[in-house]
């Protein structure tokens, strides 16, 4: 994942701050990772390397931890976050097919973020409304009975929203320039 402009400095400052307030022992690794993720929204490779240096463990160990626990994410959250439920009920009625449809439409795999950071795709285990299976949570909205056709609809709505935002931004800029 390409870092955005100014993101490198932000990551370095964040890691410095978290390491500064910790005892830098090996047993603090998980809390350190949690704090960094709380601030950055994810664990960039650069952050993991710096943390490894700070705690004096191989970077491969930090990577091992970050990939072992589900709570850590290695990709930045997208502007639109899609969570596909693969709990028992959703799985039984084809939640995996829904997930595959999203993977195809977004051209990313589960757990990844699109290069433009517009979309991120995750799997979750039970959202708590099994009667609506298969369930998908798009940003904060719960969508029920999501078939591949509905996936197309959802994606279209998201694309439309992106286009609108883009246009607003453009016209805002033009207005700013006109003044």
């Amino acid at each position: 994942m390409q870092l955005l402009e100014g993101e490198k400095e932000k990551i370095l400052a964040c890691v410095d701050e978290v390491l500064g307030s910790s005892s830098k022992k090996q047993e603090d690794l998980i809390p350190i990772l949690q704090k960094v993720q709380a601030k950055l929204g994810y664990l960039p490779g650069l952050a993991m390397e710096k943390i490894a240096q700070g705690v004096a463990v191989p970077a491969a160990d930090v990577y091992a931890l970050a990939t072992f626990y589900n709570q850590f994410r290695l990709n930045p959250p997208g502007k639109h976050q899609v969570k596909v439920c693969l709990g028992t009920a959703c799985y039984m009625v084809g939640g995996d097919i829904t997930l595959e449809s999203f993977e195809r439409r977004m051209e990313i795999k589960e757990g990844e973020t699109s290069p433009d950071r517009l979309y991120s795709l995750e799997r979750v285990a039970c959202v708590g409304c099994c009667t609506m299976a298969p369930v998908v949570v798009v940003d904060e909205e719960v969508e029920g009975k999501v078939t591949p056709t509905r996936v197309d609809g959802i994606m279209l709505a998201l694309q439309e929203e992106n286009r609108k935002n883009e246009n607003e931004k453009m016209s805002g800029q033009e207005a700013g320039e006109a003044e």
Partner: protein
């Protein structure tokens, strides 16, 4: 108090140093116990391969011999129906996702899995579990060796060699469960990682996962 103890393994009386682990005492005395993950120098063995089970008289369940210290008067059996069943299951699970094209494997005939199969009369084909064909890419970026994860048994011998002998820290376990693999930081090819290509991991590999290109 003397620092040796007398134990019995498979009706053979053996003198061993106190504090030694059962597995290594047996192996030193030419009693074979299957093992993959055991490392003699390790203080707290992982006991993750689940192959070195033995039965000890007075202990109700089989125990992993790599974690058990020898004790005075211990009576050990390396084979019993219960032990054999445990070892068989662990072995079959190991080979259920293992690349079994032995004739193409550089470790053919010196492979730890083949040795276990031969010693315990186990087959290298199993039908009990669903087989998983791994389509991992072979990492042949280093100059002298390559890494084929489809042959890896996740014993951790290479990681120990990398950390404790070579003192590099280039590789480690990544992911969890069925997705677990040995890899570098951010899964970079070995040649692009901090790996010094010292070849100690290749020497440590009991199967054909890490091998010389020749």
């Amino acid at each position: 108090m003397s620092d040796t103890v007398k134990i019995t393994i498979d009706e053979k009386i053996i003198e061993a140093k106190k504090g030694e682990k059962l597995l290594w005492v047996a192996l030193q005395n030419d009693i074979y116990i299957p093992h993959l993950c055991a490392i003699k120098e390790e203080n707290r063995p992982n006991a993750s391969c689940r192959l070195c089970f033995v039965e000890i008289e007075g202990v109700s369940n089989p125990v992993t011999s790599c974690t058990r210290n020898v004790e005075e008067g211990m009576v050990v059996k390396t084979r019993s129906p219960v032990v054999d069943r445990l070892v068989k299951t662990a072995f079959e699970l190991l080979i259920s996702d293992h690349n079994l094209k032995c004739s193409d494997c550089p470790a053919n005939r010196k492979c730890a899995l083949q040795k276990i199969a031969k010693e315990r009369g186990l087959k290298l084909r199993q039908k009990r579990f669903k087989t998983i064909a791994r389509d991992y890419e072979i990492d042949d970026s280093p100059e002298e060796f390559a890494f084929d994860r489809s042959r890896c048994v996740l014993c951790g011998q290479c990681i120990w060699a990398d950390r404790e002998e070579a003192k590099v820290g280039a590789i480690g376990f990544t992911n969890r469960g069925i997705k677990r693999v040995v890899t570098t930081f951010e899964e970079a090819p070995l040649a692009e990682s901090i790996c010094t290509q010292c070849l100690m991991c290749v020497e440590a590999c009991p199967v054909g996962a890490l091998y010389y290109k020749k």
